[in-house]
């Protein structure tokens, strides 16, 4: 009871907090990265460090976005109003990550980039993730929600799951041996998706039961 009250009061407070500060906060990692670039503090392999940092922030925002609904289920606290900002930040970092790869890492060597896109599973998986994010970024505005209708829009935005899985697998595939960090991301994504799957499975079972008892 008291937990419910406190989540309600949190939601009440949040009602007065607009979403735009999330964009500002989300830009802080980029600002810090740019500062490191300017100060020459990215280490011996700055391209890789930059690429990795941008990709990891993309994944962090994707995972954060995936947490919002389960958080509401578990605690009643609703951060749904901030989800668009978090999603767009994820796209923004992933797009910068991809740009870094093309411009600074591969240096517009299109033949190699083309070969990678066809031959390299981790590049293919990464590109699947980015491609899945594209329509989500394009439709992350009120006009699109109105035009598409909430149901279609929500269905489309299930592509987030594809992007999250692809992003985490992409990270796992490019490392040697089994370092901890990519496993944590992959574990988080799988856990958050499994939570959803479990819940909708239980609900479908539950709805069958209620339908039967109603009869």
């Amino acid at each position: 009871m008291s937990a419910q009250v406190s989540s309600q009061s949190i939601n009440q407070v949040l009602r007065r907090v607009p979403a735009w500060p999330v964009y500002l906060l989300g830009a802080v990692p980029l600002a810090l990265i740019v500062l490191q670039v300017v100060m020459g503090e990215l280490g011996a392999d700055p391209v890789k460090t930059l690429e990795r940092a941008l990709g990891e922030w993309g994944l962090k925002f994707i995972v954060a976005g995936l947490c919002i609904t389960p958080l509401r289920w578990a605690t009643g606290v609703s951060l749904i109003k901030y989800r668009r900002a978090i999603g767009l930040l994820a796209f923004f970092y992933v797009a910068l990550h991809l740009t870094t790869w093309v411009v600074l890492d591969l240096q517009f060597r299109w033949a190699e980039i083309g070969a990678d896109l066809i031959k390299r599973p981790y590049i293919i998986v990464g590109m699947i993730g980015f491609t899945a994010l594209l329509p989500l970024a394009v439709t992350s505005n009120n006009l699109s929600v109105r035009r598409m209708g909430a149901a279609v829009w929500q269905k489309l935005h299930k592509l987030t799951y594809v992007a999250a899985l692809a992003g985490a697998i992409h990270y796992m595939m490019l490392v040697k041996a089994w370092p901890l960090e990519p496993m944590l991301y992959l574990g988080a994504v799988i856990g958050l998706l499994a939570w959803r799957a479990g819940r909708s499975w239980r609900r479908s079972q539950g709805s069958v039961v209620t339908a039967q008892t109603a009869k």
Partner: protein, 306 residues
Amino acid sequence: MKRDAGKLGWSDVTPKPLWLNRRALMAGAGALAVAAPGLLRAQVKPLSPYSTDALMNTLEDITSYNNYYEFGYGKEDPKAYAQGLTVDPWSIVIDGLVDKPGTYDLADVIKGQTIEERIYRFRCVEAWSMVVPWNGFELAGLLNRVGVQPGAKYVYFETLVRPEEMPGQTGASLEWPYREGLRLDEAMHPLTILATGLYGEDMPKQNGAPIRLVVPWKYGFKSIKSIVKISLVAEMPQTTWNMQNPREYGFYSNVNPEVDHPRWSQASERPLGGGLFGGRVDTLMYNGYADQVASLYAGQDLSVDF
């Protein structure tokens, strides 16, 4: 056994060192010219015909960006966690098909060998590269001294196992000890050295102190660090990365732009030291040492013997 700053270390073996030492570097302007941000040009012409005249990476880059899983996965981990490694006393077990097997103290291993500077290109399997001024001696010199018996076909190496000083060894990232191997003709090649230092200083701990292998035409992981065992054997030995993933890492692991790693291309590489816009260059066959080593592999299908 503490070494004073002024005393001689493992890289200071007679005859008179031919390398440019760090004191000279620090003394300054006359010794080195900064040729590009993060890259250095040796003002003294490299004395060994085996040295490249390519721009060298800085001591800072060479000692702060390492793959040494015994100290963790991260490139910065070895510098952070290797400093507690005890490298004195140090001995190497030399056994197998040799005339004079035994446990050799490091001073004994080095005895009679000519330590010289070798400025080598270093190409990591992860598609980045550096240029490193090693100090070392030819492995052939040591093998000849201990006497290779006729049946020996391969040389097997092991890295130290000491989890209390090597925190990465408490995890199961790789199977310890780290193992490497060379075919005997590769081991006897004059380019193949045991390095005891770089930039004229004792080998930094994160780079494989006190003594490591350097085989410049192979991917970096072949150049095993902190060696405690050298065995002459008849059969191709097991090697760590090949055990970890035989499809991705072959026994030979020669630098070859035409044979890709299954997960990424080896056609080009990022030479470190050029900063964010340092660029990418085509990878050279045998890392640029084709003239010296291509004949070792005549008749071999390099896509099979990768």
